[in-house]
Every structure is written in C-alpha cells, then in structure tokens.
Symmetry: C2
Subunit: 562 residues, 2 copies
C-alpha cells in the first residue's frame, strides 16, 4: 500500500451516490433513463479540494461507472440514457483542477485511465447493448465535462446565449484533455483539424450555431423547447433499440471481498499479495455445479451465474490493485478448475449471446474486463499448471498476458494423479472478445498470418498439452518439472529488477500490434502524450500551469520545444 | 539559440564522412553498394564521450542520412544497399549511452526523431526507389544497431557462435528502444508478442537458429560462406529493381545557406528568426524561369531544378531549426511567386514521376520533407497573402500547418494592383504526398467524408479566392484588410502564451487523425511513451538506469507502476 493516497474502493450503489441522480421514474413507459450530475461539493474522495462547478474526481467517476453497469444489467427496459446536469447553467466543468494539482503522477494517470474506460463503456453500451447515451448539455460543458458529452452518441446543447462547449486544458492548465477529447473531436465527431486546433486553444469554447457548424455538437435547442426536445430525441434513440420488452433485470448485489493483510478473497477470484517480491498471485476459479441449459436458467441464477460473478470479481480486483497497490508490479495469473466445466459454461454464452439480452451483456462485460487487463500497466504472467482450466474464454486471460508458461508434466512433490496441464481453444478465442485495436488476442499474437489463424481454428476443442501448446505457439515456454520452479522464480526476479516505467512503455507497445482504433488511439497517442506532459515542469512544476491555476499568477514556461 | 548544446549542421558529403564508408567500387556492374559503419571513436559531435563499440550519435546519423540521399539521387545504378560493419565481430552497439546520459531531454528527443526519419527513409527507398536495403549483420547488433537492421528489408546474421541481435534498452538502460525497435519487431517482422517481450528483456539477445525461428532475422549464414552469401542476396534484391540501366546520377552540391543573426537564407527558402516573439517566418519562393518540357531537361537542370532545389533547402532548414532553435515555437509559413508557374512545375512531376527515376525521387523526397513537417513539434501557421503561390504541391505546405489564414482582399498600404491571394487545388493534393498515416492531407482534413473529397476534386485547377477557400473549408479564417493584422498578431501572441509541451502533445494528436500505420505508430505509441520514460527519474535521475549504466552501480527504481 502506498502511503500518499487513500485506499479506494470501486464498489457503490445508487442509494449511496452523492454526485449522480439516476432517474428511472418513467423508464418503464419511455425506455429512457436520466442520469443527472449533481455534484456534492464537499464530497471529494480525498481532502483538500471542493468539487465546485459540477467538477469531478475519482469518486464521482466510480459512481458513474456503477450507474452504467447497473443500467445495463438491472434495467433492460432502458434503451436510451440522457446524461445531463441537475445544476443550473452548468453541465460539468470536468476534472477538478485542485484535485489534479495536488495529486501524484500515478494517481492522475490511474484516474485518467479509469475515466477513459468508463467513457469507452458508454460507447460500448450504445454500440452493443441497445442502450444509447445522449448528452443533454444544459449548461457549459468544459474540459472533462465536454469529454463526457463526447462519449455520448449525440450531443444536444442548450441555446441560451451563454452555454458553450470547450476544451480549455491546453490554454488554462498546460495539459491535454485527458479523457479522449482530442481524439474524439477529430476521429468521432470529425471536426476539421484546424478547427479542432482553434477550439482546443480557446478557453471560452464555442456555442450556438458555430458549435453545430463545427460538428462539436449535433444540435442547439432553444431553452424553452429544451425538455421536450431532449425527451423527443431520447425517445427516437430508444425506438431504435433492440432491447427486449418486458424483460426482468438482474440485480448486482455487493461483492463483499474479504481483505486481509496479504489476501483479497472473492468467491471465485483470489489475490495473494507478496509485497516483498512486488507481485500479486491471482487465481480465478472455474465454474462449478450444473450448467444452465436454457437462457431462463441463466436469468434465474442472475448475478450468481458463474461467468457474471467471476467477471464482476475480476473487474473489481483489477481496479482495486491498479489504484491501491502500485508497487506490486507483476501479476501472476492462474486458473483452477475443470476444463470441461469451463467449456460447458462458455457454450451457454456462445449459444445465447445473440438472442438473450443478459447473456449478451455478460459477453460484452467480460470483453471490457479483458480490455482493462490489456491496458493495465503491470507485467502479466500466466502460469498454466495441472488443475488449471485455461479453456476458451478463460484462455483469453492467459493470452492477455505478456507471457504464458506451461508446466510440462507434474511437479515431483505433487501426486501424479489427474491430468497434466492443458489448454483448449474454442470459438471464443477468434473474435468474441476483441481487444481495443479490433483484433482478437490470437489475431494480435499471430499478427498478419491469417492462414495460421485458420489452421488454429481447426484445433478448436482439442485438449492441448504442453508440447503441443508450444508447437502451436500458444505458450512462451513449457519447462518440465525439473526446471519449472527455477525458471519461474528467475523469470519473476528478473522482471522485478527492471525499470517499472520502461516495462510500462514496453508492454503498452507489445500488447497492441498492428491496427489502431479510436479507442486504442486514446490509450496510445493521446494518453502517452498526456503522461509525458503531466510529468513536465511546465504543467506540474511549482511554476507550472496546473499548479498556478486559480492563484492569479501566470504559469512560467520553459519555452524550449521538445 | 540555446546555450547548452552546440549548433548542428546537417550538411555533409561522402569525402567528409568520419563514420561510414560508402563502397561503390562494383556498383556499376553489380548494382550493389556497400555502406559500412566504421565509427571513429574520437569523432563524437559533442565532447564528453567516445563512440566505442561502433556506437553512434547524431553526427553519425547525419552522415547516414546524407548517404541514403546521395544513393538515391547520385547513384541510379545502385539497386541494393548492403548495410554492414567494417569492425570485426561488432555490427553496431546502437546509440552511445554516455551521449544519451549527458544529453538534455530536448536533445534526446530530437535525436530520436531524426534517426527515426532516416530509418523510415531507408524503408521508403526500398519501397519506392527500387533501392533495397539489406542488413548484413556481421557481428553483434545491439539496441539501435539492431534497429538499424530492422529498417532494412532483409536481415542476414552471421553464424559465428557469438554474434547476436538484441534490444537491451529495457534491461540495461531503463528506456525503450527509441528508433522503432518495438514496433518493427511486432508489426514488420511479426514476432509473436510474448517472444518480443522475452527478447526485449534479455540483454544478451538471441542468435543462430533461434533468431530465425523467432523471425528476428531472415537467415543465419556460416562465417565461411558469409561474403559470398551476402553478395548473392544483394544481387537477388538488385535483380528485382526497376531502376533504369545506364542512367546518369544527379550531383547534390552543398547548399550554402547564409546565416546571419536573424536570418537563414537559401536560394529559394528564407527564414527570419524573431527571438523576441519566439517565432520563425519561413518564406518559400516558387519557381521562376522556363518550365522543363521533357524529362531530359529535368536531368540537365539536376539539383537546380526548382522542385529539387527548394525541397533540399526546406529539408535542411527544418532540420536546422528543429535542432538549433528550440525556443522558436511557432513557424509562420508563406510562399511567394506565381501560381501558374508553381502549377507548371508540378505538372512536370505529375507527368514524369511514373516513368522517370529522377522525377520519381523528387516526388518522394518532397513527400518525406512534408512528413518531417507533420512530426515537427512546432506550431505551424500558414499565411496566404497576395503574391503567394499556394497551389497544388505547395498548397500541401499550408495543409500541413495547424492553421491556415488567408487575406481577403489587399492590405491598405499595399498597392491594389495584381491579384488577391488565391489557392489552387491540383491532383497533388489527393494522395501524391501521403502523410505517415497513409492519408492525404486533405483526407486527414476531411476525415471520413469521401464524398466531400470527390467534390473538392472537381475544383481542381480553379483559382480559389478567400471567400471560396473559406466556403470549401480549405482555410481556417479569411480576415479582410481591416482585421488581418490584428487577428494574426493576436493569434500569434496567444499561441506564444501557451505551454510548449501541451502544444506539442495537442498538435501531435490533431495532425494525425484516424488510421495509424507502422510508421505513424512509431511516432505515436512508441515515441510518446519513450519521451515519458526519458523524463522519469527511473531513467534520467541521478540514480536512474541511464545515468548509472557503466558505473558498476545498479539503478535504484521508484517501484510504483504508473
């Protein structure tokens, strides 16, 4: 645990929200939910700042993430979500600047990563859940406030002669819009790059007709028609949705992990923290018990259905470790369970994700959690041992890792009963859970070799032991029982000896081969630049723009261009 | 001028090389040139380090760039270039570490940018010039040494039981391979990502059969067959080339710019340095005199042919300003000349670049210089005034800028004779000079709107004055004579007030919309991460890996993962 920041929990629920109001009062009839930002200024996650002007910090975003998840799982009736503000003339002022100025570099970077993931999740709901987000910008949307709107499918701006959209980070703070703003303006909204340049250097932003002409918003609506027009646009979006009528949502109960000094234990996922070695050993337990044979049975099980339960736990664990355990730089990932059971459960996903809304949600949720792993700045090492169940969807966990080690045979001290370690490919490994660059993890692994991917597809369903897994290129190495312990120990020790920063940069390059998408560009071109800017004195030094903001004193810049 | 570094000139010629030996002794018969790295250890550009182990600094790379340019223009007979080492058992140890350790952050970043551009240029020669680079790795190739080989089309490695290829930056120096290494290993060589991870964390690298199996090299060749096999592979590559037989090269004479305190003057390009305002005014003069009516006439003119002469000057100026004038953060770009003359000259390029090797070279050279502008970390502002000639290929200069301002009418003090400012689209603006993301600059400007591009194509050849240029979205603003001076002055003042770092990050995002290629990924995902790592204490602090390397003391790392 680091001492310079509080422990952060990512669990919450609507009745505990301090900053958002989730209005479902008419959603059964209209299919529309309203999500209203209503920041409690004294509700900052960390002491030292007030959340003025509807500005946010990590705590606000944790609630937003919770709301987006519950809307997807608990509210099948919601087909459109209107994101708006409960404050007068102020949609959202973005990330709180005093919070940024007082935060450590890791905190800022982790905060931006999580907020990015949540915004990507809103776009994912729009694209894959039939739950379309609309921004009803009923006041000024500045910086992260406008970026929140950018993550919505449509942006409606109130025409009241004062409300504007803006990205004032460059001119006011000397940093970039950190939540995808620059990329979404050009790539999603398709704003001309010279206009994007003018916009992002203009602290007061753009409003009215010009905002529409520049494509920064879709529509400006006079104040007196506002509520009605917003409702109409939301209804139109809802009408396009394929979400089912009369479906019953699935409640997401609290997860209740047990935290002890060196362990975090959920029902299906366990993490052992080794502070001395700087690593975490994560074990995901495969499914047990009867396989649901109908979609109805999945609905009955709800949050207890293993794929959903495991995914939620893994999600929470990843977020916890990223925020709270910065010095545990290596994550060793194992699975434990029966290969056939794992395949049987994932067959349920494959069979019903096209026809059942809940199973579809589970599929996309697991996809998003795997994407979190892909952008996690920790070294990820999969250990595939006897008794593991890296099959199909669970094999994606191993493929997301930087390396995969598979034991060939049995360790001496173990009873040589049961079967040796095996992995199994399934349809899940060929595009069901794409990475943010649009490729499957196998497609990334064998980039540019479609023939080989086609060949691998023919191995679907076969149990591959170590020798075959090596031959097919699915694991990095497969030491036998004599070498296993030494090789793994030495590999982990070597990893630990390397520069954490260099590893972060290296892994971010190796994990994303080939094509980029808007989403992956946000994490590469945009975020990498932002991270650089965050550590430069021109932003974060004592005379930097971020630290001087609001003091009445101008920042002093080193004018050298780098 | 900054005081902490020497002034750097990018001009040289083979007889002045200290580090490379360009062997053309058999090229007339074989079509093969040998480029041998033979570092003079005492020939560092800056005092304070010795270039041991065939390691390089900026001075070495300036010679390499010169060699690659001369090979293209002066040696049409060269169809394959063998890049190898003149030292025994040592191909190249990469960038000199003491040089990196003692260099300022801007120096390191600028050095990496230039070396990247040169390596991209080698790939461009291979792809577009019929001049294929082969790496004959006759000793160990470490770090930047291996990255040099990676920029070649094929990599041959000597099999002598000791020579290996390696990327030891992460384990030894705590930084990334800074010249495209990680990206080329995965995207070009298609090395599996887990193997890439092992490789990039293994200081001793990989040799022999494993290097082939992992696709790190194409072939290993026993020592006794080495010379013969290399010559054979080079001959095979040369045989594929479409470069003409019996062509005469064009000599590239020294440029001889005149440097005075506030001006750099070439024949066609002039730069006025305004240190107080932190800006440079660059004026490119259009062509004068008779338009060559045959390819033969272009050959007679040679380096005096305006498109080549202007491109060489612009290239040299960009490199000079980037290296030597870090505090001049805004470049104001103008052209001066006759629109019809500019179009007439570029018609020569259009007419002959498909059939004449020299004209083809000029086209691709101008393309590369425009790409340099695209990745230049300065604010680029085009001013389009009466008497300018932003037409076709020269219009690309304006389109490469962050903003374009066009005067509507005439300034009062000017005689209202002649014509108002105009721009002209030509075929050159629709893909002849692609950016590194594969799009034309118009394609980037109107990203995702192919219909609009098709519409613009119909305007080809028309003189567009300010009002039409605005209407077509080709300029950012078109103030009239009353507003022009104030608007431009205020715009430049505002630009100057912004954080140089934030501008660099913002511009790097806005200029590259949409798709990424291997080349653009090197500048985005890889370089942006590298820049971040370079400024982190884990690399560059007093206990950082870069500073501690070779001292016998281990680096001390802040273990927090960011």
């Amino acid at each position: 645990m680091t001492t310079d920041q509080p422990q952060v929990s990512f669990q919450t629920s609507p009745e505990r929200y301090r900053h958002w109001r989730l209005d479902l009062s008419n959603s059964a009839e209209t299919g529309v939910a309203y999500l209203r930002l209503d920041i409690a200024e004294d509700g900052g996650l960390v002491p030292g700042y007030e959340l003025k002007m509807n500005s946010y910090d990590l705590g606000v975003d944790i609630e937003l993430y919770d709301a987006t998840q519950r809307l997807r799982f608990e509210h099948p009736e919601v087909r459109a979500v209107v994101m708006t503000s409960a404050k007068d003339r102020n949609f959202c002022a973005g990330a709180n600047i005093r919070m940024l100025a007082q935060s450590s570099h890791p905190w800022k970077v982790n905060f931006c990563k999580f907020t990015n993931e949540t915004r990507n999740g809103m776009e994912d709901a729009t694209a894959n859940s039939g739950q379309t987000y609309l921004a009803a910008v009923n006041g000024t949307a500045a910086g992260g406030g406008y970026e929140l709107a950018l993550a919505c499918e449509r942006i409606l701006l109130i025409d009241d002669n004062s409300s504007a959209v803006s990205l004032p980070e460059v001119p006011l703070l000397g940093v970039l819009p950190g939540t995808g703003g620059l990329t979404r303006v050009t790539d999603k909204r398709k704003v001309r790059k010279d206009r994007a340049d003018v916009f992002a250097t203009k602290p007061e932003g753009v409003r009215g007709k010009q905002a529409v002409e520049w494509k920064l918003v879709d529509e400006v609506i006079p104040k007196r028609q506002w509520d009605e027009a917003v409702a109409e646009r939301a209804a139109a979006a809802a009408a396009e949705s394929r979400r089912p009528a009369d479906a019953q949502g699935v409640t997401l109960p609290p997860l209740q992990p047990v935290h002890t000094e060196n362990e975090i234990r959920y029902r299906h996922v366990t993490a052992t923290l080794d502070r001395e070695q700087g690593q975490v050993e994560i074990t995901v337990a495969g499914p047990e018990g009867d396989v649901p044979d109908t979609a109805e049975r999945v609905h009955e099980l709800g949050a207890d259905f293993w794929p959903l339960a495991m995914t939620r736990e893994l999600d929470d664990l990843i977020l916890w470790l990223r925020a709270n355990e910065l010095e545990l730089g290596t994550w060793v990932i194992r699975t434990k369970g029966d290969v056939e059971d794992a395949l049987a459960f994932e067959r349920v996903i494959a069979d019903y994700s096209g026809s059942d809304w809940l199973v579809n949600e589970i599929r996309h949720y697991y996809k998003r959690v795997l994407k979190r792993l892909d952008v996690t700045s920790r070294s990820l090492i999969a250990l595939i041992e006897p008794g593991s169940c890296f099959a199909g969807a669970l094999l994606e966990l191993a493929l997301a890792c930087d390396r995969q080690y598979m034991l060939d045979g049995f360790l001496e001290e173990e009873a040589e009963e049961g079967e040796p370690a095996q992995i199994v490919l399934s349809g899940s490994n060929f595009g069901v859970f794409p990475m943010s660059n649009g490729l499957s993890r196998l497609g990334s692994r064998f980039y540019g070799d479609d023939d080989y991917l086609a060949k691998l597809r023919q191995e679907t369903g076969r149990r591959l032991q170590a020798a075959e897994a090596m031959e097919f290129g699915l694991v990095t190495d497969a030491p036998d029982d004599i070498d296993w312990e030494d090789e793994i120990r030495i590999m982990l020790e070597e990893r630990r000896s390397l520069s954490p920063d260099a590893l972060t940069g290296m892994e971010a390059n190796h994990r994303f081969v080939g094509p980029e998408t808007m989403e992956s560009r946000i994490f590469s071109r945009l975020t990498a630049w932002q991270n650089w800017i965050f550590v430069r004195p021109n932003a974060s030094g004592p005379e930097g723009a971020l630290r001087r903001y609001g003091t009445g004193r101008r920042a002093e810049f080193d004018r050298k261009r780098v």
